[in-house]
Symmetry: C2
Subunit: 433 residues, 2 copies
């Protein structure tokens, strides 16, 4: 045998072994349950999109265009999607006669050709929800309530939903004397506040040709954060007639009805890097032990219209699935396991094999996850396998046991052994499941 190639992952991608995938699948099932409880339904869109869809003006914007995997095949310019939102907009444009509102969830991969030095992956999993066809802040509130439900079902106790509004930010920019043409660039600079600090943002803003006084005033506004009541009170005098202020006030009314008001902070530094947001924007942070952001989103009322030629309002949120898996691990909230097998049925020798298999079939039909040997291992090695795979129980079956219609169950942790009639085994093990 020869190895004539480099056996490795594509740079920026990684394999997910069973330990990690068992956690990831639990995370995905939990989020799905929360979203179904709010009436969101699944949508599937392909990985591949035509590049002119992905690079459409008003979609992801120039920054993300540069990061899009794209290539030509048979004269067609294709790309791998960089999010679930642009394909959703394309889907709506192709299926414009949907029942309003269209509320969909989507668990899927996305790809961005990013700098991998930052520890980011170029292929990653997102779990998105979007509500299409509602201009009302009720849509935002419901979306955030569904997100909050998912976070609680995942086991997190302390989390903060940080909210801002693009329209309010625009109003702040106008008050600060900023040229509106520079607002998108300024949003992206402000979005880095957490990462590069106030000085860094100031430097970037000045780099954009914004004069220092304007930049500093902008930074004063974006320094505002706290519970909604206090922030709205501080903004009221200057901004009460602004649509952005009013949106946030209405949003808070509904947010409180959902009982998640205590988890909300208004934070004027939240800008979100993507071009397409038009109203409220949000970020969700797990605050147990400062574990950081697990997802973000916002309102994008213009993007679908770009594809459809007719304005359709929409709001969405995207969980970073791998981020949640990491956070659960760091917080010690998940037990990483090698398998979810309940019991391994050992055959002491070749002649007991058929009976071991038949017993395994019965136990599965009773609702247990069961393994038997498939490699022709001797008893000792079968037990060693069960041990390595952290299987909690083994059953030992030999000719004598078969004759008597009994078997020995061993609790692998305590070493305690119980002899039981074959038909009693399933109920005994189910009690311990």
């Amino acid at each position: 045998m020869t190895r004539d190639m480099t056996v490795e992952n594509v740079k920026g991608t990684k394999d997910r072994g069973p330990q990690e995938m068992l956690v990831q699948e639990r995370v995905v099932d939990t989020i799905k349950q929360a979203f179904l409880a709010y009436g969101f339904v699944p949508l599937g869109t392909p990985a591949l999109e035509n590049f002119d869809v992905l690079s459409a003006k008003g979609a992801g914007g120039d920054a993300i265009k540069k990061e899009t995997y794209n290539f030509k095949i048979a004269g067609r310019h294709l790309g791998l999607k960089y999010d679930q939102t642009v394909p959703l907009a394309r889907y709506i444009a192709m299926n414009p006669h949907f029942v309003t509102p269209f509320k969909r969830y989507q668990y899927d991969r996305a790809w961005r050709y990013e700098d991998i030095k930052t520890g980011r992956y170029r292929e990653f999993y997102q779990f998105d929800i979007d509500t299409v066809g509602s201009e009302s802040m009720r849509a935002e509130a419901e979306l955030l309530a569904a997100v909050a439900r998912a976070i609680r079902l995942l086991g997190f106790k302390e989390f903060v939903i940080r909210i801002n509004d693009r329209k309010l930010l625009n109003a702040c920019m106008t008050k600060a004397g900023l040229n509106p043409k520079k607002s998108l660039d300024a949003f992206r600079a402000i979005d880095k506040l957490e990462k590069i600090g106030k000085k860094g943002v100031l430097f970037e803003l000045i780099g954009l040709g914004i004069d220092e006084r304007t930049a500093k005033k902008l930074l004063d506004y974006t320094g505002l954060r706290g519970n909604a009541e206090s922030v709205l009170a501080r903004l009221e005098k200057e901004f009460v007639n602004e649509e952005g202020f009013q949106e946030l006030s209405r949003l808070m009314r509904f947010v409180n009805a959902y009982g998640i008001g205590k988890n909300v902070q208004l934070d004027l530094s939240i800008a979100r890097g993507l071009d397409y947001y038009t109203g409220p924007v949000f970020e969700v942070e797990i605050s147990d032990a400062g574990l950081g952001s697990v997802g973000s989103g916002g309102r994008y009322d213009n993007m679908i219209g770009l594809f459809l030629g007719q304005k359709i309002p929409a709001v969405g949120f995207s969980f970073g699935v791998s981020r949640i898996v990491d956070v659960l691990k760091i917080a010690g909230m998940v037990k990483e396991v090698e398998s979810v097998t309940d019991v391994f049925v050992c055959a002491v020798n070749e002649s007991a094999l058929e009976n071991a298999i038949m017993l395994s079939v019965q136990l599965r039909d009773a609702g247990l996850n069961v393994e038997t040997d498939v490699v022709s291992k001797n008893l000792k090695k079968q037990i060693a396998y069960a041990d390595k795979k952290q299987i909690p129980f083994i059953i030992v079956l030999g000719p004598k046991e078969i004759e008597k219609g009994i078997a020995t169950i061993r609790d692998m942790k305590s070493g305690k052994e119980t002899r039981a009639k074959l038909e009693r085994i399933a109920p005994l093990l189910l009690k311990n499941k």
Copy 2:
């Protein structure tokens, strides 16, 4: 608003709307449950692989190499995976110290740049299981038992597992006088028997430079099919000392222990198109109403060695997920639904909105899937939405009801209305779930 692009799917890909995705997710959950019951665990490998991995000699072979989406980015030659097996082999090569056997499942996309005139898609979903590290036919038998369990859990009553063996086919070819160098090409021709008939295959074999007498003899062998006992009895005299014959005999012993012997047919026309198979090969057909193949697989003892430089036996099976979804629909075995929402809580006017939201939160906490209006619709339109989305119950809540602490529940099918205290609603609806 302008549309300056063609808003369409990439050729050979499609969107999956909520109706289809709700079925697909049920299918995936069901298959997963069956595989977990047999001790298989999930693995995640990326969509992107280095092209020299995908195109390695002994992997998919030349036919599939031509169908691989591949492109160069920043000087690297990448491709989208065309199956889950080659990435598994690469993963094993990179993680060679696994506990034997390594039993993994994987639900994922694959891409093949195929002729779309045949109705095939270029992006499709597979659900694979593979057992790595066992030479024993016990591995095949367990794999097929897990597959059979999945098929039964999906609701299919009648299915056939058609089995052949590449080694036995090789022995047939030798007996027929075929040059062994032509065996892979002959396998691919024979694999089309169902599609192009005996005459078509004969024509293809002769086209490969095989003389007519040899080709006809080959077709005689590959015409053999039936229950295992009768086929093995007919082959015994000529092939009893052949490894392929002995593998199938051993396999049947274990298959019978799993209780799936009645679902197995030996069929010497099953060859499978892929180059990498080395032993038993199988195809699973739903025979209710002749619905055809839903998956296939086989033993591939040499492929992992190619990546690792050390021989590792393996056997795998792959379900075509979209095919199963189609078959379930054609057979009328699934009800296609717009949503899985249990109840819609209507607010008769703006003032009842907060109470409607609060009630919806309570009902979700009780285990129901609940929607409320997020678009500011009037009562009539809220009810029309619930109707279009086939939501079985609505609750009507107005100021009077709120004052009295009651609400009206309407069964949308019968039109029957019930008035109940708010705290009695959840138990009432849960009974109907």
